[in-house]
Symmetry: D3
Subunit: 276 residues, 6 copies
């Protein structure tokens, strides 16, 4: 159980769902161990959050456990989306823990947001990868083209194929380079995302590998943790869903500790905004 | 390149083919790093083999590199089988390095043997796993039921589902428990496999985890390395194909060192028999 | 949850209890991660056991989770013993997963056996260690001197202080050296432990470090896994409690995989005997 | 021996004392290996320091080895304090290497400073943890409430319980958030700590986990190494004691390398100030 | 093969040469695995580079494999220099991958530059180390004193012996402290290195250990990755040779990923400048 | 300090000398960390030995620390031999801890034995390796051809070049295959080595990699630990010198724990024989 996620499902405002999908990782596998590892490295965190003057265990978080994957990725994503949709129907906010980035497909399908705010090293705007449209490198494209998302902001993106960069030039995509992320986050104000519903996805490889080496494809020159934290804090009040993905077990716990922290920051910030 | 595999493809008697498939591993992934790791830990071995008085680099071994997998496992296996068939057509012996055990499907399809001699902790006789008939846990079943293999001997098998054990009771399957392996191997004589063509597959988890911890699903109480070595030595003279599979990168090199050694034992023994 | 331990507590014949105590380890710490790790490496095991023709999930096993330690070891052991006593009162068999060997104190206190059968590299017969009578190096002594156990058999013991060897020479202690363990186990027959109630404790360091490197104090020249397995199989039918202890996270999973397997062997064997 | 700590005890101006206490760590243990590891990763450092134009081996540093812990933490802390007090009586400066943060209790008891300057992610202001007032999470509280320290500055603190934050609001505690640490350190001038005796303690988890993953409880969003270095440089001239704590062996050496470096920075800076 | 280095040697503009020398490392060995590891962690990078609008596989890069070392370091360096000189004679640019920093001796001998731009934590200006003038700690000195290099800029240098700092005060050495590196790089303009031929060498320990823990001698307080990247981008257009050295296998891939990235940045930037 | 090696040098019967040479390892380096690691993993062993009824700390063992290597291997071996000769002159028995096998050259030079009993996977009978006659692969040859040793028994040898096997056929070499080691050791009686002085060297790779994965060149199918233990016990009473070599830090401590144990077995057995 995610530490402090002690609320019953029926009474929960937030539901943690693990999605240990590890099917299409191109390089280093291990995202199947992500949810367990994120829960484990969250054990040391204080329940109390000074900034919001609230306790995580009092936010109404339930841990629904993992939705176990099988070989048929499209079927799994359907099943996962259904599970998450039931969370949404209960007027709870899903907090999805990957697994590879592909699981965001299910999160977005369930939440059905207008806008997607992503922290990611990669554009993930491929139409297909190795012939597979549901590869993790295609997930943002799927959300825009197939799932009805109006626009995506990709913070920290620093690499992609030529076709992906072309797609990124379209009006429905905004790319914020890692070097510009701090300023972009600082510029977010009350009007940002006004009138939009939002889904927030953190691919842990959006951060610099120094802070999160335990991920499938390290990409140097990434975003600093405080910037991502402040991004999550700024977006959470407008967001109806969150995920942290691409954590594996190939480091000393840095990536998992960070993902757990960002999930908690989302919950604290969302709760503080909605209970004002 | 596998150390000593310096022969040109056209002139080769043996062709090493890496098949880093890592798609359906149930527990710990990493078999995608198997072929590289097996090649790397083979670097320390002497070229000369005292028992057969021959040099590995003089056996006529080519390293054809890896056949890179993609998401569509059935298509990949077809492609891999075609690649291996071209080896067989050239009257060379394929030495396949996995990758998960599923790649044996391609090896057997290419070699088309009468009998299959397998070292494995698991029966791999499932009809399907998670709905997937090409899962690694089904590979022996596929060979028997779909690929025309007449019989399979599974040395070191110590676990399986009830349905697998039922299937194992059929006349075309012989199970040699780890405890009986030494005696069974010692009992192999010149008449064993007489009149049969044979394919030899070593799933590294057939050995005890102490000797090969770097594998997807450790199963205690396994076979000792010398027994597997002697099995390979005994079967190689009658075999037209070999593979070593299920090595991953989650140990200190023991599994890869062993797989590399067994591949070499196969080649030395096969060559010694055919050149007599 | 231990895989397959799906029975409700009230209906359970066996109750898995994790006791991640990691307070007095002399050398390499990490037993606090033992229970989680044992559960995790049990995930790959088939539910079905061929020898007993039974399914683990049908044996009636419940996983009661962990009893979390705190700094006061004596108080913790009291609390743990109370928890295990409630298992015994329900006529279930406790399957304790350590944690350091000290937790056996609680298991024995709850089960109150006549005889103790231990697999251990160390005699654990000290009266105190660093002034602490509840140190892991004293646990067998405590059971004999303080908890009313009539006799202890320590299989695989190969080291101790001079005072411990002196204590081991008393009539209530039998030491079976690793070299003699195979023969001793083979000699167990129906009359062994006749009229006695028994508790079975496996300190994973009783096995050779090759098979279980992930433990606090490796001691070479240990017992082979099959011997310990057969010991567990022989003792289980007469035993009312079982534990597997001293697994930490400082290896590639070998120790945890083995502990999980031995716990399962105990349950299969005990159930087969009691349902005959 | 800490590299370069070649001075005899009697002639020493600084005495390195290892205190490998590893008793109350809440999450990942291993601080018992801290002192050895810090010494080992110091081996690569040049003896000469450009900034102060001095050699470490000429500063008069002795390495007194480790004070070995046992199970009775209060007794151990008394013993350690006595050992450190003998250093102070000899007019040497103790350089304590942990072990868990609890050992600072002994350092402060021996040095008896007016002010405590701490780098730490955690407030460590609990009155007790799991009922234990000598837990590592209580050490700053103990120093203030029991050991007569007048005030504490906690640089990099970013988490604590509600009660700890309340205690931190008292006049004798100053909390410098990680975001403000750079500016705070830059603002230290000659009048800082005027008329006060000071003890400086670096809990390595005060730094961001990217720089020191090998610690018991990683807490993201920490202080940068250069800021802590400059803090140490600024405080050292006014300090009579120093420690670096909470380094364990669960990373690739980053935490130990950093702790060793900061200890050296303290000695260089202290010596430069006192020899002016 | 370095991913994308698919051009034939004859047609190549750039030639990757691995030099896995691991003979004189003072502390943690393993640079012998550097070239393989750098190639492996480059596998995840996109072929396309957005900034220069070019594909790595279209830059004309050949991978000539490794020049295998033997025990006689001077002879090896001669041989390596000859190999690299043949690259230079073919009007290609050598991209050397270490191996310890000593291999830069061969790179500089082959390229024969006027100026050397180095990123390094250490001055490497010793006349000899342990009596060996070809130790890795002497390589910059050798280039200046023996190989005819007119001047060296050492960016990120933060440690050295007193004699090294004295040598660094000579007119032919410029030291840029890590704290000043950002500004120094930003100040490079079109006139920098005008009229000079340049060789660029990146010792991965020039970066902070958080970003590259896998190196022989970690030295805290280092340069940030983006600064080194921008240094490489600025220098590449004027450079005729490049190396990335001192990567070993003692981390989770961070050092290798970074070295691979910097090598690519060099090639992209050099090609963009020369094809303008 | 090796645990229990508390005797002053002048009074010592045995002197532990670390020789962390790591210069010519062909594959995985790290033997430089061998002596430290062997000492560290010896910490858990009981002082008392039941078989010989003696305490290690009462055997008169001194730990002289390490003789630090430098780049000039021949000069280092001379220096090390001088150091060990001073041990011999004092009528003490040197217990050398490697470092690579090359250090045996110094041990044999100092002890000047008639016979050499070696446990090793490799013949180490090359005349030179990469042109270097002092490579670790040549050490047994050097002892026989250059240092006046009359004969060598190599227990566990299973690989070598053709030239090495030819040299091994000479009258002064006896090779005992791993399969025959048990019987050979059991056959040693009081007349074995009668009238000969003996030096005993254990290359940890003589054992099977399952028991000692932390070594430079793993070679499967090795000797079991108990056989090597009994070899050491049998040879120790006739031996005037001992070494344990080729332990590195690339495992979880198994190799170091075993080497430490064998060194202790040598000392206990030698002392028991000489004090009878």
């Amino acid at each position: 159980m995610f530490p402090g996620a002690t609320t019953d499902r029926e009474a929960a405002s937030y539901v943690v769902v693990g999605a240990p999908l590890d099917a299409t990782t191109t390089f280093q596998p291990g995202t199947r161990f992500g949810p367990d590892r994120v829960r484990r490295f969250a054990e040391t965190y204080d329940d109390y959050d000074r900034r919001t003057d609230s306790r995580f265990s009092a936010l109404g978080v339930n841990d629904a456990g993992d939705v176990r994957p099988w070989d048929d990725v499209p079927a799994y994503l359907d099943h996962l989306a259904a599970e998450l949709r039931s969370v949404v129907y209960d007027e709870s906010v899903p907090l999805l823990v990957g697994g590879e980035h592909t699981v965001t497909h299910a999160g977005v399908e369930a939440v059905d947001p207008d806008a997607l705010v992503i922290c990611d090293a990669h554009l993930d705007l491929r139409d297909a990868y190795d012939g597979n449209p549901l590869n993790h490198a295609c997930v943002t494209r799927r959300c825009l083209d197939d799932l009805g998302v109006d626009r995506a902001v990709i913070v920290g993106a620093r690499t992609g194929s030529e076709a992906e960069w072309d797609r990124a030039a379209d009006a429905d995509v905004e790319v914020v380079a890692p070097e510009d992320a701090r300023e972009w986050v600082d510029g977010l104000d009350g009007d940002a995302f006004a009138g939009e519903t939002v889904y927030c996805s953190v691919d842990i490889d959006g951060l610099d590998p120094a802070y999160a080496p335990g991920t499938g494809t390290m990409e140097p020159f990434g975003v600093a943790p405080r910037t991502v934290r402040d991004l999550v804090r700024a977006v959470a009040p407008r967001a109806d869903g969150f995920d942290a993905v691409e954590v594996n077990d190939r480091d000393d716990g840095q990536a998992a500790a960070l993902a757990a922290k960002l999930l908690r920051e989302f919950a604290y910030s969302h709760a503080a905004a909605t209970t004002e």
